[in-house]
Symmetry: C2
Subunit: 113 residues, 2 copies
DNA sequence: CTGTATCCTACAAGATACTG
DNA sequence: CAGTATCTTGTAGGATACAG
């Protein structure tokens, strides 16, 4: 039986987390635990350009991991936050982290910086 | 505090699973539960080229997810299998799958094929 | 402040041919 | 059988300038 192109939920989820800045964005939103402004993300990720930041945010939004709220006030303001689905990813992310610490960091003991 | 470039184990693990064919390869090795020949992988993933297959295998090997054993017999033979670290990924992969089924597939109910 | 619009580069992935 | 070696292409990501 040949491979089924993207019927596999694991592939879909992995690829939705695969952008260069997606995990850092996720971590920041998760840690803050409240809506965060575009400019705050920009400040927190100093080496990201606006184009790329917007792209990564749009993709996370398309994948229902974050949500975007716009307040077109005198001073325009946009806030991003994890959806409840996004927040619930923490369970497997924690397990991934644990796996990584166990199997990656332990291999680097013998390396010099 | 700015982002730490790849001190984050989650980023490392996600990116080690991010290749186009890595999850399909993983799934095949996991399902078979025994060493699998290069040619068997090729047959199972009909649309992959040898160059790409070899690349993906080398990366999975570098990341200690699979191991390669070569038997330079009359008819050369190479077998790939999950390492025990690789096999232990199944725990979070299962959780990812569960998350995906719950949050992705359920959104597609309203789509037509 | 929160974005687009362009342009550019690097690299992942594919097609195809050749090899020990 | 299990790969390299080349060449090509698509796309992610970055630099920079402009805009509502």
């Amino acid at each position: 039986m040949p491979v089924q192109l993207n019927e596999c939920p694991v592939e879909v989820v992995i690829s939705s987390l695969s952008g260069r800045w997606k995990i850092p964005i996720y971590r920041y939103l998760y840690k803050n635990d409240q809506p965060v402004r575009y400019s705050a993300l920009q400040r927190h990720l100093p080496s990201i350009s606006k184009k790329v930041l917007t792209e990564q945010l749009r993709e996370l939004e398309r994948d229902s991991i974050i949500e975007r709220k716009s307040y077109p006030e005198p001073r325009p303001r946009v806030e991003y936050a994890l959806t409840s689905a996004g927040r619930s990813m923490i369970e497997f992310l924690d397990q991934i982290s644990e796996w990584g610490v166990k199997h990656i960091l332990s291999k680097q003991e013998t390396q010099q910086s």
